[in-house]
Symmetry: C2
C-alpha cells in the first residue's frame, strides 16, 4: 500500500476520532465551566495528583494562564492544592470531593454513550477492537517518550 493512501487513511481516521469524541463529550460539560477548564479537569482526573507545570506542559497552556484557570477552579472548590514537602515551590493538585463527583458524573455520561455506540458488537468483535486499539496505540499514537 502506498504511503500516500496510507496517510490519507490516517487523516480520515483521526478526523473521525475527533468527531466521535466531540459527540461523546458534548453537553457533559457542566454549567459555568469553560472548555479549557473542563479539559484541565479531565486531565487532573486521569493523572492526579499533578503539578501546575505538568498541566501546562501536557495541555499546552502557558504557566500564567494555567495558574489563572486553576485559581478559578480552586475558587469553585473543584480542586485542591497540596504543598509538597520535598520542594516547597511545587504544589500537587487533585480534584476535591465535589470536583471528583462532577467528573465521575461526566465520565458516566460519556461511558453510557460509548456503550450505546458499541452495543451491537459481539464479544469477538470487542476483542478485535481491543487488539486494534493496542496496535494503533503502540505503533502510531504513542505520544509518550
Amino acid at each position: 500500500m502506498d504511503k500516500e493512501a496510507f496517510f490519507h487513511k490516517l487523516v480520515t481516521f483521526t478526523t473521525a476520532v475527533h468527531e466521535v469524541t466531540f459527540d461523546l463529550t458534548k453537553d457533559v460539560r457542566p454549567e459555568g465551566i469553560t472548555p479549557v477548564q473542563y479539559s484541565i479537569l479531565e486531565y487532573i482526573a486521569v493523572s492526579q495528583p499533578v503539578t501546575l507545570s505538568q498541566i501546562s506542559d501536557c495541555k499546552n497552556i502557558s504557566m500564567p494562564n494555567t495558574s489563572r484557570e486553576l485559581k478559578k477552579l480552586t475558587e469553585k472548590n473543584l480542586c485542591e492544592k497540596l504543598d509538597v514537602a520535598e520542594d516547597r515551590r511545587k504544589q500537587m493538585i487533585r480534584l476535591s470531593d465535589a470536583g471528583q463527583a462532577m467528573m465521575n458524573k461526566a465520565f458516566e455520561q460519556i461511558g453510557e454513550r460509548f456503550l450505546e455506540r458499541i452495543k451491537d458488537s459481539s464479544t469477538e468483535e470487542l476483542e478485535e477492537i481491543s487488539r486494534a486499539l493496542d496496535v494503533l496505540h503502540s505503533k502510531v499514537f504513542n505520544s509518550g517518550e
Copy 2:
C-alpha cells in the same frame, strides 16, 4: 474484558490520538491564520466544494460565525465562492490556487512528520496498522450515518 476497562482503554487511546495530531500539526498553521480558520481550510481542502451550511454543521460553528470567518478567508484570497445554478441561495466554496498551495504545503509537512513516525514499521506492521484502522473506523469511530 469488562466494560469499565474497555472504556478506560478507549479514553486513553483518544487522548493519545489528540496529542499526536497536535504534535503532527503544530507549527504548520501559516502566519495570520487563526486556529478556527485553519480548521475550516482543512475541511474545505478535504471536502471541496462545500456549502457554508456544511462547514457550519461539520465544524460546529454557527452560521453567522462561519460566514464571518469565510469572509476573512475570501478577503485573503484563500478561497472562492461560486454561485450554484440550481439554487441561487447556495454558494459552493473551494480553495483558491493560493489557498490550495498553502494547504498542500501544510499537508506535506504533516505527511513528513507522519512518515517519520512510522518509519521503523515493517511492511507487515503497516498492513496490521491498516487493518486496525479499518476495524476501529467501521466499528467504533463511524461518525457518518
